[in-house]
């Protein structure tokens, strides 16, 4: 039908549906003469008429056989006979009409034909009725007719759906494989007719209700029979069907995806950014409103329209028209559908996904060849119209060299692209890398160049609803409660949830008990340190076992103990401090065991560590909720200690070889007393005076109190020394430090001196960046004098030049 060479397509298209309808309904009569006329293509006309003739014969045969068959209902048969009689005249009239208008022109005939149609409507309806009745009969009598029907439907499908662009009116659609198909658009007339037909059927049913009911019964019986027959093979199929549910219910369209919408969109958007390079079409955003809604994602979802100004498109697309990020890095916990997402979106964007995963050889050479073959454009384009999209699954397990190669691949093209545009650009295809651990060491080079898309674990509610869908497909009867329990248990892992459901389907009825008792499907769900800490401090009588499980799941005992240490004081009312001392003794015991374990590398006592925590739990747990602090203090203190230690070490190193001291002596004796030694009672001077450079050295004395009170002795040297420092002395921090040291607080002394020292370092570091005209003031002759002892100022003696040495000198004058 679709191959009509006729120029008057419109008419055919309009009536082709009806023609088909005719084919289904009519026997031998072509009650619509106009249509017969209107089809100049002999083949199709012949075809339809042929069928109708065949049908006629068939039906005659059938009626014969029916007579011989068991009479279902005498009334129906009578009717049939009556109909058969009426059939003949109607056909005749049709033929008469046919003959009459044989030579009439098509265009002129359109209107009269319709009128004629209305004239003959009664007859036509009758014929239809008869046909319906017969068909029903046929259905009832011989099951083979069902097959007949089917073929007809198939025929229809062929007629209505086409892969090539058809001649009839169509609606283009793209199926999940990316193939484009065209579906015939139906005219309104057709719909009206089909509706009429329905009503006719209804009327028929009402007139011959008894017969209809009987037929229904028989039908039902047959259906049940067939169902019973069907049931067994269905199950067989189910058992033979080896595909896992995970495969079976893998999302096949965008809306099926369980991952978060922004995530999906982020990746899809990135894939579309490649369109310019791959498909040679302008990248444009189809829905700017939606794009802007996702602008929170690092501003990458700003409008990328070319028409909306180039500025916005710049960060996303580089000079070659490729996206800024050449690689998308999908990361997330296992079982959340990263691979599925990548495949599906690549297909949706019109690519052919090529996967390279851990099972493949991922040596550098193999990887290079895979990369080349997957991303080289032309050869693949010729074979398959769809370009490749390389998906590197489980990339965190790949060797570092491989990842480096990938990164090189991406980055070199940027440089090359700048040089010789559009000629040799190796990476012209999107590459999606998938990993579980974003911070794996091997991925370190990839992270900066890749667009990182984090696929979070699916929320329990969404997972539960998907499980419900799967269950309904599989005809499992599961309560929603059970499903949500299963979903929670899976902890966002779709794969696990489906596996468990699959495993449990053998049972007729699933209960929550089943879910809880099933040994499989529990992942070692890691508890966060805060959850564990909360468990330590809350009393839970119902489940004592759970506490141990939580502690062991949390794992980091050290952190946990730190957390207990930082929170135990407020945990309970403890006026006599018995609980505190008891807790502390347990923590002390923990520390001893832990230290011993670490020192001897003998883990035989490691198992007792959680017991210490459990003891603390017994001591500290209450029913009231406590707001717990995250254990930070220990680390903070450690950091500070390291900081202060390093200052001390540099002071120590700065001291001359003649000063025989070890670090402890320096720390405990010299430095604490040094401020007293270095701070004689002096009047502090005014900053304003200092600006005027009047009495410069007295101010300097007060400023440099920490480093040298005896500076006054060498006034000239001081001036030379300090003038380059002037701009920095005005900084408020230094001034405040100055004031602090002026009032000698015994408590703060060694902190202050360390602060001063740090500032000295800062100042001296800045010093080196001073303009030359200031630096030239430094006298070289003084350099020779090496101080014997200089705690405060020789910290960075090597970096400092003559001028600081000079100051040192004056310190101990």
């Amino acid at each position: 039908m679709s191959d009509f060479p006729d120029p008057d397509e419109e008419y055919e298209l309009m009536y082709s549906d009806e023609l088909e309808l005719m084919k289904e309904n009519e026997d031998k009569t072509d009650s619509n003469p106009v249509k017969q006329k209107s089809l100049p293509a002999k083949r199709s006309l012949d075809f339809s008429s042929h069928i109708s003739k065949n049908k006629d014969l068939q039906e005659k045969l059938e009626s014969n056989t029916k007579d011989n068959d068991i009479n279902l209902t005498p009334s129906l048969q009578n009717m049939e006979e009556v109909l058969a009689q009426t059939n003949v005249p109607s056909k005749r009239t049709a033929e008469d009409l046919f003959g009459d208008i044989d030579d009439i022109d098509f265009d002129n005939l359109e209107l009269p034909s319709k009128r004629q149609k209305t004239d003959e409507e009664n007859d036509f309806d009758l014929i239809n009725k008869i046909l319906e009745g017969r068909r029903l009969k046929q259905l009832l009598t011989e099951p083979a007719s069902g097959g007949n029907m089917k073929t007809k439907v198939n025929f229809d499908v062929k007629e209505n759906i086409s892969i090539n662009i058809p001649k009839w009116p169509f609606m283009p659609l793209t199926n999940s494989d990316g193939d484009r198909i065209y579906i015939r658009l139906e005219s309104e007339d057709y719909w009206n007719k089909s509706l009429e037909m329905d009503s006719e059927q209804l009327s028929l049913r009402s007139t011959y209700s008894s017969a209809w009911e009987e037929a229904q019964k028989i039908l039902e019986k047959k259906e049940q029979k067939s169902l019973k027959e069907d049931d067994t093979p269905m199950i067989d199929i189910g058992e033979h069907n080896t595909s896992l549910w995970v495969e079976k219910y893998r999302p096949s369209s965008y809306i099926d995806l369980l991952s978060e919408e922004p995530v999906n969109r982020a990746l899809l958007h990135w894939l579309h950014l490649w369109d310019k390079v791959v498909f040679k079409k302008e990248v444009k955003t189809k829905d700017p409103q939606q794009r802007t809604t996702f602008s929170k994602r690092a501003g990458q979802f700003q409008l990328t329209n070319k028409w909306k100004g180039k500025k916005e498109s710049e960060p996303e697309i580089d000079d070659d028209g490729r996206p800024h990020h050449k690689v998308a890095l999908l990361c997330g916990p296992p079982g959340v559908g990263k691979t599925t997402l990548a495949h599906l979106l690549a297909r949706l964007a019109g690519y052919r996904p090529v996967e390279l995963n851990a099972s493949d050889d991922r040596s550098t050479e193999a990887f290079r060849s895979a990369l080349v073959s997957a991303t080289s454009m032309r050869s693949v384009m010729d074979v398959d119209r769809r370009p490749n999209c390389l998906i590197l699954d489980e990339i965190d397990g790949a060797p570092t060299q491989t990842v480096e190669l990938l990164v090189k691949w991406c980055t070199t093209t940027v440089a090359e692209g700048a040089k010789k545009k559009s000629k040799t650009q190796p990476l012209r295809r999107p590459v999606i890398a998938i990993c579980n651990d974003l911070y794996a060491t091997s991925l370190r080079p990839l992270r900066p160049v890749a667009l990182t898309v984090t696929v979070g674990s699916v929320s329990a509610a969404r997972l539960a609803s998907r499980l419900a869908v799967v269950a309904s497909y599989e005809r499992l009867r599961v309560e929603t409660k059970v499903l949500s329990a299963l979903a929670t248990r899976a902890g966002g892992d779709i794969r696990t949830a489906l596996h468990v459901l699959n495993f449990l389907r053998a049972k007729t009825k699933l209960t929550i008990k089943d879910i809880e008792n099933v040994a499989i499907g529990t992942k070692d769900t890691s508890k966060s340190i805060m959850q564990a800490l909360q468990a330590v401090f809350t009393l839970d009588d119902s489940n004592t076992e759970a506490f141990h499980r939580i502690i062991q799941a949390a794992g980091e005992y050290d952190r946990l103990v730190d957390g207990i240490f930082e929170n135990y004081i407020t945990a309970r009312v403890d006026t006599r401090l018995h609980i505190a001392s008891e807790t502390m003794s347990w923590l002390g015991y923990y520390d001893i065991v832990q230290a011993w374990t670490m020192r001897c590398q003998n883990y035989s006592l490691y198992g007792t560590l959680p017991l210490c925590i459990a003891r603390c739990h017994r001591l500290l747990a209450t029913r009231t909720y406590h707001k717990l602090k995250f254990p930070m203090q220990a680390q903070e203190m450690y950091r500070k200690k390291v900081e202060l230690d390093s200052i001390l070490v540099s002071v120590w190193r700065g001291s001359g070889p003649h000063v025989v001291n070890n670090r402890n002596a320096l720390k405990l004796d010299v430095i604490p007393l040094l401020p007293y030694l270095l701070t004689p009672t002096l009047r502090s001077a005014n900053i304003q005076m200092y600006r005027k450079k009047v009495e410069l050295d007295s101010i300097l004395v007060s400023v440099w109190r920490g480093s040298g009170p005896h500076v006054v002795n060498n006034r000239n040297a001081l001036k030379l020394d300090v003038i380059p420092l002037l701009p920095y002395l005005l900084t408020p921090t230094l001034r405040s430090a100055n004031i602090q040291t002026a009032r000698v607080k015994p408590r703060k002394i060694d902190e202050n001196i360390k602060k001063m020292e740090e500032k000295l370092v800062n100042v001296t570091e800045k010093e080196s960046r001073l303009p030359n005209h200031l630096q030239r003031l430094k006298p070289k002759s003084i350099e020779k004098r090496i101080p014997q002892y200089s705690v405060a100022t020789r910290r960075h003696g090597k970096r400092r030049h003559g001028k600081r040495r000079h100051a040192n000198n004056s310190v101990y004058k």
Binding site: F565, I569, T570, D574, T575, R576, L577, H578, A580, S581, M584, S585, L587, G588, Y589, Y590, D591, I592, Q594, A595, Q633, A634, M637, K640, K641, L644, D645, L648, V649, G656, P657, H658, V659, V660, N662, R663, N664, A665, K667, L668, D669, V670, P672, L673, Y676, L677, T679, P680, T681, P709, P746, R747, K748, I749, D750, E751, Q788, Y789, Y812, K813
Partner: protein, 355 residues
């Protein structure tokens, strides 16, 4: 100009101010041809290093005083680069292996071997051996100490070791038996007073004996500290007055404050405040055992005799635990909590008796 501590350090064994008989014995030791490995131990500020430097001078003459600082580089088996500062003359090298933490074994192995395998260039009229001075031997890891024992025997022809420690309890017996152990006790308060007087005389200052005595007491028999305090006194206020304020290291004051906090109030809240103070002390590098002893001294001073026993025994227990463990703050706090509990109990009982 340098501090008095460095300025008036005796350079000759015979000029030492105290432990003179020990000095003569050391001098005799040098006269003899065989000079053993030495393990010099004693509290901080007793004069260990001074004696060693005198000894070196006795051995090699004034050439041993020409010191230079060098930084040496080593590579651990795990390919980690470490550097350590050494002080050396032509005749000896001094190093503090604990500076590099757990990698001290590498330092000992490499450095001692390096030094030991090079002979003196000009052995005529010189000693045939060089001296390696290792500081803080008691803080060496067990690995390093074991590495030391074989080296000590193997290179005995070319090299002598002088080990310095505060206490030999943490030096393994194998090393102790290979060395001649020399204990340098802390000077008595009277000895400190005489030293202070002599120093002040050299400076041309007049020091009242009362002040000298007070300084000696406050210095806790640590001569270095006493000298520093004396100099600080001079800087703060001169001429000296007998009732002058003697500055003392701030951490001592701090520990005292902490102890008084424990005694004023016994409550979990106070415990939290004490913890902050303890943390502060620890991060400033005050050794936890000194914190322990400081706290104990202060606590014991202010409580009943029966409590003294209890608190002291608990202090011993927790201090021992602290040495075994890694986290001093736990044990310090455990001690604080325990002593608070004891004190609280005592106070409540005495109050109960009163009513």
């Amino acid at each position: 100009m340098s501090l008095w501590v460095d300025k008036y350090r005796p350079k000759d064994l015979m000029k030492l101010d105290y432990h003179k008989d020990q000095a003569t014995r050391l001098k005799n030791l040098v006269q003899q041809s065989d000079f053993p490995h030495l393990l010099v131990y004693g509290p901080s500020g007793a004069g260990k290093k001074t004696r060693i430097m005198c000894l070196l001078r006795e051995l090699y003459g004034s050439g041993a005083e020409r010191l230079r600082q060098e930084t040496m580089h080593f590579t651990t088996p795990s390919n980690k680069k470490i550097e350590i500062m050494t002080v050396s003359s032509n005749y000896h090298i001094e190093v503090n292996p604990t500076d590099v933490g757990i990698h001290d074994r590498v330092v000992i192995m490499d450095l001692v071997k390096n030094v030991a395998q090079t002979h003196q260039i000009d052995s005529s009229g010189q000693r045939e051996f060089k001296v390696v001075i290792l500081n803080e031997v008691d803080d060496l890891t067990k690995d390093a100490q074991h590495a030391l024992r074989r080296t000590m025997e193997k290179y005995v022809a070319t090299c002598r070791l002088i080990l310095i420690a505060n206490s030999i309890s943490r030096v393994i017996p194998a090393i102790r038996s290979r060395c001649l152990t020399i204990r340098v006790p802390a000077p008595t308060e009277n000895e400190i007073v005489t030293v202070l007087h002599s120093v002040c005389k050299k400076e041309g200052l007049s020091l009242p004996t009362e002040l000298a005595m007070r300084i000696a007491k406050a210095a806790d028999r640590n001569l270095r500290r006493a000298l520093l305090m004396c100099e600080a006194c001079k800087v703060q206020k001169y001429p000296f007055t007998p009732d002058q304020k003697v500055p003392e290291p701030d951490w001592q004051q701090y520990i005292r404050e902490t102890a008084s906090m424990i005694l004023t109030e016994q409550s979990p809240k106070k415990l939290g405040e004490v913890r902050q103070k303890l943390y502060e002390l620890i991060i400033h590098g005050i050794p936890p055992d000194m914190i322990f002893s400081g706290l104990l001294c202060e606590l014991v001073r202010n409580c009943d005799i029966s409590m003294k026993c209890q608190i002291a025994s608990y202090a011993a227990e927790y201090e021992h635990r602290m040495r075994l463990g890694n986290k001093p703050i736990f044990h310090l706090e455990a001690f604080v909590a325990k002593s608070m509990a004891i004190y609280k109990k005592y106070v409540e009982e005495s109050l109960g008796d009163a009513f």
